[in-house]
């Protein structure tokens, strides 16, 4: 729930900032079209029917949604003058029926910019075409990652459902529809806002050139650069548009065959994820850990708490292979070991979780021995919970009371059963990540070579780095982002 609220408030704030930008640009435009800066008061009638600047025909597109008016007194610096005047923020609500294609006064559209294939120079080159081209490219990728066409279709379906009079007969379902509609609307508005902002900036530059206004031109160029950076960030965020991507998750690592060497490798992999998660500012808790007899771990589960933990970590599912001279081999021979990684989302939306009934559970003391009770003083109070209908089990041993171990194990069990159910429903669609038992040892995703040369290479994307130490210290974002981009680009083109 909290993640949903966060997302919603986030998208709202970004819309407001866009509105702010729109307002500013509109004002700048009006100012530049009058010959000299002056105090200017809009009459109420003008507020209702704003004077359309050249190329600002999009303002007429108030759509079928509602439009609102924000009144605010704004003091802006223009040249050497301070001008105070009430501003009207004309907010266009984008309905789900988007039929128009925004363009500049010269008829240039975002797609047109991409088609122009302008050379993209570095950020530091103050070249508006490069900036515009980079922004258009980012917008294009964001749309692609949002599965734009599908999103529009989905929005239409949701709007139709929202308009049905019997919607609230099933409040749970209605709530779900409202949330999804709101979230998709937010995403759509954001992208549309980017497109308009880009075109406005371009118009502004052209206008500035026509008017020989160097100040305005440099202002607009700066605005374009700011936008180039922010859309690049958005582009990365848009990688995580999956249904459960914003969830926290469990990461599980299991050692492959090969005894101590592979158990040591499994613990190195687990350490890599702990460090990665810490660097990202996520909360990390060890839920379950089975140590190896001499070194390393046989198996371990950590809980990673934070926004988009699942979205990123899901890129790590599969088998990780290590090649090195084993410190556990007195003959100093080269060994190859494997560790399997599974990632399970922790569903935030309670209504989408599988209902587990108490009578379907078998709870056992883990590693119980002897007479128990008053005979034994132990701080070991782990339990193993089995969900009898599915055979799914979970254990937790790192809490300090049996009650808490049981609660943590239950949380893991719930997520595993949810994952199983998702798999059943989705029939292995993109949302589904495999569980440890499903991961075949042939499913290698990445190789870490420490000897005879040093390299980490992702077998899915061919992304590679020559410094394994940094990767093992948790520097995984390069691998994760390249995989996420590649897997989205592999999907059919949604634009």
């Amino acid at each position: 729930m909290s993640s949903i609220t966060l997302k919603r408030s986030y998208s709202r704030s970004s819309i407001l900032s866009q509105v702010h930008n729109l307002g500013l640009n509109y004002i700048t435009c009006l100012l530049s079209s009058v010959s000299e800066p002056q105090s200017h008061h809009f009459s109420p009638s003008i507020q209702k029917q704003p004077k359309y600047g050249n190329g600002y025909h999009f303002l007429r597109e108030s759509g079928t949604g509602f439009s609102s008016l924000f009144m605010k007194t704004l003091k802006i610096s223009y040249g050497s003058h301070w001008v105070t005047f009430p501003t009207n923020y004309y907010v266009r609500q984008f309905s789900s029926h988007v039929a128009f294609e925004p363009s500049t006064s010269y008829g240039l559209t975002v797609d047109g910019i991409i088609a122009n294939n302008w050379t993209m120079l570095d950020e530091s080159e103050s070249d508006w075409k490069s900036h515009a081209s980079a922004i258009a490219q980012s917008i294009h990728l964001i749309k692609k990652r949002l599965q734009w066409k599908k999103l529009i279709v989905r929005l239409e379906i949701l709007s139709a459902q929202l308009n049905k009079p019997d919607l609230w007969d099933d409040p749970v379902r209605a709530g779900k529809i409202c949330r999804e509609h709101g979230s998709l609307m937010g995403k759509m508005k954001e992208v549309k806002g980017f497109e308009q902002e880009l075109l406005e900036h371009i118009d502004m530059i052209k206008l500035a050139r026509e008017e020989n206004d160097a100040d305005l031109e440099s202002e607009s160029l700066k605005a374009l650069l700011r936008m180039r950076r922010s859309t690049k960030e958005k582009e990365l965020e848009a990688l995580l548009a999956g249904e459960h991507d914003s969830s926290s998750c469990f990461i599980e690592v299991q050692a492959g065959a090969g005894g101590t060497e592979s158990m040591d490798w499994a613990s190195m992999v687990m350490q890599m994820y702990k460090l990665w998660a810490q660097h990202r500012g996520y909360g990390v808790t060890v839920v379950d850990e089975m140590s190896g007899d001499i070194a390393g771990i046989k198996r371990a589960t950590i809980k990673v708490d934070g926004e988009y933990a699942f979205g990123y970590a899901k890129a790590e599912v599969g088998v990780h292979r290590l090649v090195r001279i084993s410190p556990f081999d007195s003959g100093k021979r080269r060994h190859t070991s494997f560790a399997a990684v599974a990632v399970i989302p922790i569903l935030g939306d309670v209504s989408s979780r599988v209902q587990i009934s108490e009578s379907d559970l078998r709870i056992e003391r883990f590693r119980a021995g002897g007479a128990g009770g008053q005979h034994v003083n132990t701080t070991e109070s782990a339990v193993r919970i089995t969900h009898i209908p599915t055979g799914v089990t979970a254990t937790c041993q790192n809490e300090r009371s049996q009650h808490q171990n049981k609660a943590s194990a239950m949380a893991v069990l719930q997520s595993r059963v949810d994952q199983l159910e998702m798999a059943r429903q989705a029939q292995m669609n993109a949302q589904h990540t495999q569980s440890l038992t499903e991961i075949s040892w042939g499913n290698q995703i990445r190789t870490y070579v420490l000897h005879p040369y040093r390299m980490v290479k992702d077998l899915r994307t061919n992304y590679e780095v020559s410094d394994p130490d940094s990767v093992l210290e948790g520097d995984l974002d390069g691998f994760i982002l390249s995989f996420l981009s590649a897997s989205l680009d592999k999907d059919e083109d949604y634009l």
């Binding site: 009770g373 003083n377 009371s401």
Partner: protein, 364 residues
Amino acid sequence: MKLSFTRASLSSVLVPLIFNSNLVRPISCSSVSCSPASAKPQTPLFLRSPTFSATLSDLKKWQDWAKTLASSVGSSFLDSDNGPDATLLQREFNWLIEDALEHPKTIGITDNDKKNMVVTLRADLEDLYELWKQRIEERRPFQYIVGCEHWRDLVLSVQEGVLIPRPETELIVDLVGDVIKDNEGLREGLWADLGTGSGALAIGIGRILGSSGRVIATDLSPVAVAVASFNVQRYNLQDKIKIKQGSWFEPLKDVKGELMGLVSNPPYIPSEHISGLQAEVAKYEPRLALDGGSNGVGSLLHLCNGAVSMLKPGGFFAFETNGENQCKFLVDYMETETEGCFRDAKIISDFAGIQRFVTGFRAQ
């Protein structure tokens, strides 16, 4: 009566075991309803104020030393008397860090330039060395080292002289939760926890009873009474739970026949088994709370007989036992010796599959 005499004499011998007064700063007695006996509860490590400090590098030295000491144990304790192995001791050490450091995460900082950083502690570093040595070399129970035990969702203060509540016993609260769920009489009635020790069962039950539900908890040991009162106070349940000093039903004479519920984890280990127990239990925990006499069922029978007159008709009872034999013996006793007094006597297993509890109701 013979029973209570033995218990009293035992307690006076066994209560003051290891008591490092440097490490323990007793909390002020005025804030807790202390028993007439002058037993003072100790403040658990995690509740002490962080008035000590050490540099990060000194702390890490302690950590390295402690981990080496823990791993040197291997499985030797496990093999000799089913004690903790190295893995478990490592985990306990992490919990010691959790309790002893004001900001436990600081010990994970690896930056070399931060090694002179000052870390605030709840005990002197020298005492922390001493505590861990006691844990490994003398096998002092971890819960006495840190002065607390995590039990259910509670953190209970414990100290020498008070039995460390066991994970198995947590289940009694669940059993009570099940019977009060749709029985208002039980939910809003008067309960008793006899031989309460740290107060674990009384607090666990006090927190799930309805707004009129009350608990009286008794213990013969003044230390237990002091510690239980401290714990009750810490969970702000003093209006709901009364701690009384005395043997079993003695302090309950004025509520005869009024109890809606009765729970107890009485001493049930047969005397001849005491010497063979794991070191942590045999050397440190109060014999008063463990030794159940020659066959271990003395206290259980006393409770059973007392329940006949103390419980209201329809009242519920749950007793913890040593296992299958005692459970069967007790159920058999109820069906023959106290025939007709109880109904629905049931044996319930713990999570290890050992028949652990006997529950039932006072017949109408």
